[in-house]
Amino acid sequence: MSYNEILKDVFPLLDGTDLASCMAVSKQWRDIAQDDYFWKCLCSKRWPSICKRPSAPTVTYYKMFKTFYKRQHQKKLLPPRLSFSDLEFYIDIWSEDSLIFSEVIAGPVLQKGVWNPPPGICDVLRFHLEGPEYKMTFSVDPRFSVPLCQTISVSMLVGRKDSNKVACIINKSVFDYIDRTSYRALAFDYLDFSSAYPFVSGIRAWMSLLFMDKGSEEVIDVFGVEIDFCDAANSEDEVLWLFDMLDWN
């Protein structure tokens, strides 16, 4: 009886985790532990019904066991198909009915990068802007003032250069929440996804007007804009996937 044969008698007594550890011990152990027969035994204990079919439902029993033995909690995000350089953002902001801001912002400008906010902003806001959560920001230069007694609303569309299509991010939303501690005026809207993604809902786009720490109760001095999807996306790749899933037309 060779050493290999001893291992062949021992391996069937191990569970999947231990057999996988054996595969990493040495080349000899790996070559024996890779025998799909052992994995077939493990699969048939875990899912006895597969024995009713002559061959593995997947390419190998090893692959089947590996994939389904434990629930995969960390779903790997596929690389995004879009990049910021494919996109441009059409942003319009109204105070009542007059247009106070109207620009096309190129994707790379909005992509999270190094942007130094001007001095004179409050610490809470600076702390927020420097925080790790993924957010897209751009500076507004020259700054504009917004009287808070008026209704401030925004719409935001995004266009993609690769297919000449446009999607809506914010239809028409009002900045009706003013966060006085962090000097932001917030508006949001629910994203509309394409019918290829039927069950996705409840994800909001948030836009914040960032204003200076000037102290006026009635007028805010806006120096920048932040856009984030904090409900669901917390990295550049996740944000790009959200854009990809929008209802492009």
């Binding site: 044969e5 007594l13 999947g16 550890s21 595969m23 790996r30």
Partner: protein
Amino acid sequence: MRSISRWMRRILAKVIEFCMKHAESLDPEELDAWDDDFFKMDNSTLFDIIKAANYLDIKSLLDLTCKTVANMIKGKSPEEIRRIFNIKNDFTPEEEQEVRMENQCALEHE
């Protein structure tokens, strides 16, 4: 008749000791305790006993010895297994990484 080497005599003595104990006693608790003690041996003796049990077709001893080896592997990392069985790691760092990636996430111990 070929003379039996001292080594082989030692292994056979162990095998016979096992068989005699299991023949004379039927108390499972007593046997379990005795077996635990019996298997406190070095790995090479253990492997030799497996081979002997296989050759002599003593199923109960073969099962028990294999189970003993399996228990030595259970819950151990590859490095720990190598240390227990004195096995050389012949993977290159790239190969080792590849094997770990293959098995990671799905099958790692928590």
